[in-house]
Symmetry: D2
Amino acid sequence: MVSAAKPASNTGQIRLGMVGGGQGAFIGAVHRLAARLDGHYELVAGALSSDPDRARASGAELGLEPERSYASYQEMAKAEAKREDGIEAVSIVTPNHMHFPVAKAFLAAGIHVICDKPLTSTLADARKLATLARKSDRLFVLTHNYTGYPMIRQAREMVAKGKLGAIRLVQAEYVQDWLTEPEEKSGNKQAEWRTDPAQSGAGGCIGDIGTHAWNLASFVSGLETVSLAADLDRFVDGRRLDDNAHIMLRFRAVGKDKPAKGMLWSSQVAPGNENGLKLRVYGTKGGLEWQQEHPNQLWFTAFGQPKQLLTRGGAGAGEAAQRVTRIPPGHPEGYLEGFANIYTEAATAIRAKRKKNGKIPKGVIFPDVEDGLLGMRFIEACVKSSKKNAAWVRL
Amino acid sequence: MVSAAKPASNTGQIRLGMVGGGQGAFIGAVHRLAARLDGHYELVAGALSSDPDRARASGAELGLEPERSYASYQEMAKAEAKREDGIEAVSIVTPNHMHFPVAKAFLAAGIHVICDKPLTSTLADARKLATLARKSDRLFVLTHNYTGYPMIRQAREMVAKGKLGAIRLVQAEYVQDWLTEPEEKSGNKQAEWRTDPAQSGAGGCIGDIGTHAWNLASFVSGLETVSLAADLDRFVDGRRLDDNAHIMLRFRAVGKDKPAKGMLWSSQVAPGNENGLKLRVYGTKGGLEWQQEHPNQLWFTAFGQPKQLLTRGGAGAGEAAQRVTRIPPGHPEGYLEGFANIYTEAATAIRAKRKKNGKIPKGVIFPDVEDGLLGMRFIEACVKSSKKNAAWVRL
Amino acid sequence: MVSAAKPASNTGQIRLGMVGGGQGAFIGAVHRLAARLDGHYELVAGALSSDPDRARASGAELGLEPERSYASYQEMAKAEAKREDGIEAVSIVTPNHMHFPVAKAFLAAGIHVICDKPLTSTLADARKLATLARKSDRLFVLTHNYTGYPMIRQAREMVAKGKLGAIRLVQAEYVQDWLTEPEEKSGNKQAEWRTDPAQSGAGGCIGDIGTHAWNLASFVSGLETVSLAADLDRFVDGRRLDDNAHIMLRFRAVGKDKPAKGMLWSSQVAPGNENGLKLRVYGTKGGLEWQQEHPNQLWFTAFGQPKQLLTRGGAGAGEAAQRVTRIPPGHPEGYLEGFANIYTEAATAIRAKRKKNGKIPKGVIFPDVEDGLLGMRFIEACVKSSKKNAAWVRL
Amino acid sequence: MVSAAKPASNTGQIRLGMVGGGQGAFIGAVHRLAARLDGHYELVAGALSSDPDRARASGAELGLEPERSYASYQEMAKAEAKREDGIEAVSIVTPNHMHFPVAKAFLAAGIHVICDKPLTSTLADARKLATLARKSDRLFVLTHNYTGYPMIRQAREMVAKGKLGAIRLVQAEYVQDWLTEPEEKSGNKQAEWRTDPAQSGAGGCIGDIGTHAWNLASFVSGLETVSLAADLDRFVDGRRLDDNAHIMLRFRAVGKDKPAKGMLWSSQVAPGNENGLKLRVYGTKGGLEWQQEHPNQLWFTAFGQPKQLLTRGGAGAGEAAQRVTRIPPGHPEGYLEGFANIYTEAATAIRAKRKKNGKIPKGVIFPDVEDGLLGMRFIEACVKSSKKNAAWVRL
């Protein structure tokens, strides 16, 4: 049951750097916790802020050696590439618009990239980055962290094994309330950059959390979105990016089955919702329901049978979930454990890459640059559709 | 707390007739239970089936006097209108296509009508019926029964009182699974007529349950739907009417507030869902969440405050809910009690109408022919939109 | 699915009288709703209050003929026994101390008795009443109404069929909060008599709701309580009867199985609890969990298998539950429907008794005087144990 | 919000050793994950198994230097005490009977002790250990890990601040099902030692999980248990220790308030329960409810007000919870995070101790040897009471 938590030390910890994530940031701290949990990584370098003073202070706080706490990512990429004990991988946890230049620099320096989502702030950047990543022999890991939850792996496996029959319906939502009021005007850094097109890109709520819901829906259902119709809103006066999105989805038909349909709702202005990411998938033979706030449970109904509550590590949990399960059923694993699973999967892949022609072991799963590119297409399609009065737009 | 349950006998029970609802029917039995619960009605006449033998047998089973168990609704309307002790009201519980002619006949006979939803099977019929009902001094009650649930009344009152601020979002769904397979080919009468355009009208799932969800969303939010985009599907091979509907909604702006938006999902092919009618409403100041399968609870969040679980009869329940509450909090009332509330509201109105120029007392609420006409417009708009590739259609 | 709701009219409604339940009472109104729901009874006589004025006014409100609205139960028993159209059954809904004399009078008058619980206010009375009821050919129905819930019938059937294996553990609780403060001093009639030993008997909370929990535990598990240890408290200053009870239970061994054990908690001073009646039963092969506030659901786990959520009317519902089910799964039935099931079961029995040597049909279940006597033994044992510092006391 | 997760590196990681926790163990891996999460500890030495081969292999797997992977805890204590870079703290994760000798050896060697619960396997050992720990200037941390959950800290703070008024009732339970069958005979090491009196001590289920529930009840309520009555069972044939416990509790009165009462149920034979640790506390003014399987939520009811769902990090979360909260509300933290909070609290204390006369900062909370001694008294009292037919026994 504890394969994911197996210590890495016999093969040596992975030397990790970080760009972004200095004092006042949120997601950087999460990445560090996730990298640390299973013991596979050692954080040894960073360009933690675009503000040199803050970068230095943050580095000191994190115990980086002063010479490896860099004032800029360019400098860091260059210096680390030269060191014999240079970082093997970098975590990019900046606002979206910096993902592309930073990732480009580190790939060029021969360093694996672990990048927060969405991939970039523009589709053009995303395309360029995908081209670079495809050419590179370095790994590109995108932290669509929800794909790391064991019961999401379970759901995906059940769909793949045909437990639901042919999929007909996918209902996804990611709903928050923290932007119900103009939080970006109150000095909240997180709100500021997320609602700023220059830093976030064309999508607000849809880029910040809608992509997560859509990625998860795709990951579990295995379906390809053909087209969508999106109605985006900015409910808060003066807000520059969408804070609510209503989307209808159409998927590519699988074989002779009728094409599946879906809906996606993403919002940051729905009071009473904290991180309400929910996924429901229904097919000809059964249905699945999952929600992030109670991630250790997965509802499964075989049509005509009583509803079952599958639990992480419990009866009915299959191989895909067990791989990424640390502790017994009834002891909840949470957000950080799911996030850590992405880091641990990446660690396995990175170690495999240490060997010449090393292959990533079977069963290792992590979102990559292709998922990131698709996510950018999704955001662009949503924005485009919304501008055309929510007309259908091909992805 | 027991106003709704107050016995009616001191003012005399209302003499009720029924059209449809004979052996093998479903909703007729529900209407009878609902009419009986609070003691306001006495069932004394019926044309319980279009099959004369079944009509007779059903009448005997229900204890009707043989002479008042009619072979046809026309005969019944005529005969009852002549009797001094003739029925004061008729419940129409036939398949949809019969609602119009039956209602017309009884209105013409000067008898109040309590009619199941949707109003008719075609919008043309609905318009005619609305015209007739408006001209008539008889009551027309449409049993959108979910509006009778106490916590739905509570939700409506809270919205009206501004507890949620300006409404931004309405999320409604009504999801079942009983038509996941071609049940209509297995001899199930309920499935047969509901999937038959000649009996049901242009809407399948959307007419059967989607209208309920939309009616409820309108009832609680107080919002007027301006336009919608609907993507209807028939997932089951050979099915003649939709069994799934994805809908985006746009509401009319209230004052200077931005117009609200909504989504509605209705399905009969989602395994694991029994009668999953859910409503969520969010505004600038707060949010509400309710589901029919646990109807005695209403979640309320004032933005920035902890979530509250309001209960029927419990702390925080207001006047609108208390009016239609029979028993103390923690003792669940259910579907029949909610349905009975419509009958009891109607009884109060019918008794008021016994007096010349009698006015319906303040606070009495029931859906009427206007709601029914709106519902038919909703169905028609959905079908029209779907045929146009889910384009926006005005209601 | 609608057998319980089948109309009774072809065999004639049962003429019912009521003692107690006048204006200001609670449980009387519940009995009337329950009697009315399925159409088996017609309320035609009453001695609705010990106060003659209130009795008269209450009778008028309920539409009783003035001559059958009696000033005393003695008069009523005598007069109704003489009438050709006299009542066939009487509902006794007075405070506890009146159950015995009233029941005695009506049994003597040859009238079936439907009596609220607990059976009496003293064990001595209970014994006398049991003796009378056993000798009588009239029915004695005790409204332990929770045994009427379909999923409780389901649970009982599953235990009886061995789905749980040999029972080891029974956990029961009935928790409220309405007596957290000295409500009996605020003019609340319900609180007054329930906390008055002269009207309630020796048990306060334990008699009012503890007996329900214990009766339900016995009903579902089929186990006989051998002995118990009870720690009763009066947390509110000046309260004369217990408002909280902690109880450990030991059951008689079944065959060679080890004897089962149990716990029971009953309270009226636990803020946040409305009518928190819960039952959990565990055996060598599986477990069941049920709570009254969501009565349409029953959790079942076969050891080593995923947890299942059984629903009223849904997949997995057996014959015992279906008999008392009116409407489809997902449309909640509630407290009144469960209560009505007791009345409807009684109606079937009463009709059988109309025939000479008529036998109660197989499958009909209702609590009777023996259950009532056991309940009184339970209350007495609890009080006795508590006085002895919660020592073990045989039942 | 991230104080608990603050990196420790600027003050230097704590050098940690571990006794027990080699291959095949469970809780050792949990301790390592918990120690690692916030980055405060570096595992550098171990005596990971009493089997020297397994000890060596386990050490290698964990990346310990061979010379610091010891064959015995005695050797380890001696050697580490001598090293300049010797461990500062040791985690003891052996079966219970080894806690005493191991803890004694390390305290004697001047090394802080972090010990799994229960404190020892006998009360005599516990008393000796408490004496040693009190005399020592080294810290003794007992990992009653559930006290680390943020919402448990929240609950404790609310009780302490009087939000519930005077406490009247405490209901605790810890229910599992994994020992429903004779698992100890199937080769499961965890089951073997837990059901072996020589390794576990006098308590089976009551020592393994009952102590957790009781510790948590005491921690949150702040109440001192005066006496208890316990009915222990061994339901599985041949089992040598209790697998189920029913307990009634009496607490010491606080001031002039009536003494509170409680119940505790602990079981390992209740099918359908994974790690069902639940706590409910009720007072004169309000009530709290919490369950470990959904640890980010805490129900609070102020008497007469609607029920509130408090969430970790959400509205209404106080200082005590925020201190140990890492990530935003709606992103679940779980068992490992709660466990890590104990390690992180301990780290703060250990660092304070690095300075001469260093004081543990205010607000730091962890269970210590006194809690452990109380827990052993609790187990002994339960066993003693049960042997006396569940008579009341003073603690």
